[in-house]
């Protein structure tokens, strides 16, 4: 059974903290993605990676960075958390180009207070 696992289901962090969201996939997929989901806005792409140590900005990269040191792991970093980063964060991986066949993790609900 394919799996994309996000390290936390729920997180509460303080404004200004550095926050790490971890994602691991066991499908040997080349491509990994970070999205955030907000009511009325759908899913928006933050960053993606098509290979180890490679990263590309998505539609809303401001305030975020990523790290992909190993093929199976893709980390999202909030350098200095702010309240407008309170959201549901979703990690996905896919074997194909264009995000085809993407599998999603269960999501991390992050609240910044």
């Amino acid at each position: 059974d394919v799996k994309v696992t996000q390290s936390s289901r729920y997180l509460v962090k303080r404004t200004g903290e550095k926050v790490f969201l971890e994602c691991v996939q066991d499908m040997d997929h080349e491509n990994m993605f970070w999205y955030r989901q907000d009511p009325g806005l759908g899913l928006r792409l933050i960053y993606f990676s098509y290979d180890v140590k490679m990263k590309e900005k998505g539609d809303i990269p401001e305030g975020y960075s990523v790290s992909r040191e190993k093929k199976e792991r893709f980390s999202l970093i909030l350098e200095s958390a702010s309240t407008n980063q309170t959201s549901m964060y979703l990690c996905a991986s896919s074997p194909g180009q264009g995000g085809l066949g993407a599998f999603f993790g269960q999501g991390t609900r992050l609240t910044v207070v």
Binding site: V4, R9, E30, N31, F33, Y35, G40, L41, G42, L43, R44, L45, F48, S49, Y50, E56, G58, L90, A92, S94, G96, Q97, G98, G99, L100, G101, A102, F103, F104, G105, Q106, G107, R109
Partner: protein
């Protein structure tokens, strides 16, 4: 500029009837379309997809129709069941661009199946 639009934030349908969810897109480079279903506090799960070379794809109770000239696709669920109550996201991909550009999602439609 929203490239994938789901203009109905919510839709209420009686159990057993047909649910029709609509999606419009503006980017002519999109060549593959997908529907995802999402329950609260869970990640989206893939439902059904269609390539731009087709106009219909069917999988059990789910059928997706694509009208390229109108840049419109729709998801039909027949018959609707209580477990279908969820948020449905339309997504599009431009495979021709290559690379790993992520899917472009619509804002979602909350489908509510009433008993």
């Amino acid at each position: 500029d929203q490239q994938v639009k789901q203009n109905s934030p919510s839709l209420s349908v009686q159990e057993g009837r047909i649910s029709i969810l609509n999606c419009d897109y503006t980017n002519s480079m999109f060549d593959y379309f997908l529907w995802y279903k999402k329950y609260p506090a869970e990640g989206p799960t893939f439902l059904i997809s269609i390539s731009s070379i087709k106009d219909k794809n069917e999988d059990g109770r789910f059928t997706v129709f694509l009208n390229k000239s109108a840049k419109h696709l729709s998801l039909h669920i027949v018959p609707s069941q209580p477990g279908d109550s969820a948020v449905y996201f339309c997504a599009a991909s431009a495979r021709v661009s290559g690379g790993a550009d992520g899917l472009t999602f619509g804002k979602g439609t909350h489908l509510i199946i009433q008993p």
